[in-house]
Symmetry: none
DNA sequence: GTCTAAGATGGAATATTTTGGAAAATATCG
DNA sequence: CGATATTTTCCAAAATATTCCATCTTAGAC
């Protein structure tokens, strides 16, 4: 599987970060060596290979009609502000644009968390990641509780096997 | 994707601003090198390549019946007042006309936000953009929250991937 | 009409940031 | 422990942003 694991990585004084070598290989296994960075409302940055991102975007836009006279459409377009192409340098680095760093509350020369998300990676401040992890685990156990409760009243046991 | 990212740019003493190089390239990829500036009721300026703007306008007017007896039609046409052509200079600059600056509460020698919106850019005062961004992100988070709540009771994990 | 002042425009000089590369430091492995 | 790979820091060159200045245009006063 690609893009796994979590790493603590430090930004250099101009806001660049270097990919760990296995993550770098995962990215370079795509032809372009370009990535798309975008800001998620969870307060982190998603970094996907251009190819993956394009596919995701196509699926999303399939339904959507762009009519700039509509406020919803204009706000949809404004997400362009939260998106940026970057090229992975020869040294395996990318620059995280200033504004993006600010939005995620990550600062130059600090360490950030790089989180493998199977089809790409995410970048979190250490603090935000801690919070996110707590939410994920909390959600999981709540869900498990629900499942157990339902089972109390079910007659047969043909559940699907889930996993996290 | 074109016209992405957000930038803090300062106006010079005569109300001109210079495009960042990637934005400039996006504009110059259209033949004319001309842009149309117009004021949006959100309190910002939209700056689109002439070609994009023309197309949008055609579509919009296609639906509008021009009947000068109609106040709606007349008011629609008066938006011409809020619209202006500009040519991108050899140095990659445009002048924001005085009246427009006033309406957006942006002032000479101050910094403004330049916001990529995929088919063009928008110009906001730093303060207004902060507010707008908060609205966009808040809306997003609310949507995410709903999705998570639904997941608590769903059995399988076939969600679609959203993104910006 | 001519003169003056205000503003607009184009160009260039300066200051700042970004970029690519390499050196130093650190970690990893045999 | 030494050798290798990786990470981090640092520096110089390039690119870019910002400021400044000279010129041109316009509008208004006389």
């Amino acid at each position: 599987m690609s893009f796994t694991g979590q790493y603590s990585i430090s930004l250099d004084s101009s806001g660049r970060l270097k990919f760990p070598s296995n993550i770098l290989q995962d990215f370079l296994s795509f032809a372009s060596g370009e990535v798309v960075i975008y800001f998620l409302s969870e307060g982190c940055l998603a970094v996907y290979p251009l190819e993956i991102w394009s596919k995701m975007r196509e699926e999303e836009l399939g339904n959507l009609k762009i009519v700039p006279q509509s406020i919803v459409a204009r706000r949809r377009l404004r997400r362009g502000a939260l998106t940026q192409n970057e090229k992975i340098s020869k040294q395996g680095r990318i620059t995280i644009p200033q504004q993006f760093r600010k939005m995620c509350k990550i600062y130059d020369t600090e360490s950030v968390m790089m989180i493998g998300s199977e089809i790409g990676i995410e970048i979190w401040s250490e603090e935000s990641w801690e919070r996110e992890l707590a939410i994920i685990l909390e959600h999981d156990s709540e869900k498990s509780q629900n499942e157990m409760n339902q089972d109390l009243y079910s007659e047969n046991h043909t559940q699907t096997m889930g996993g996290s």
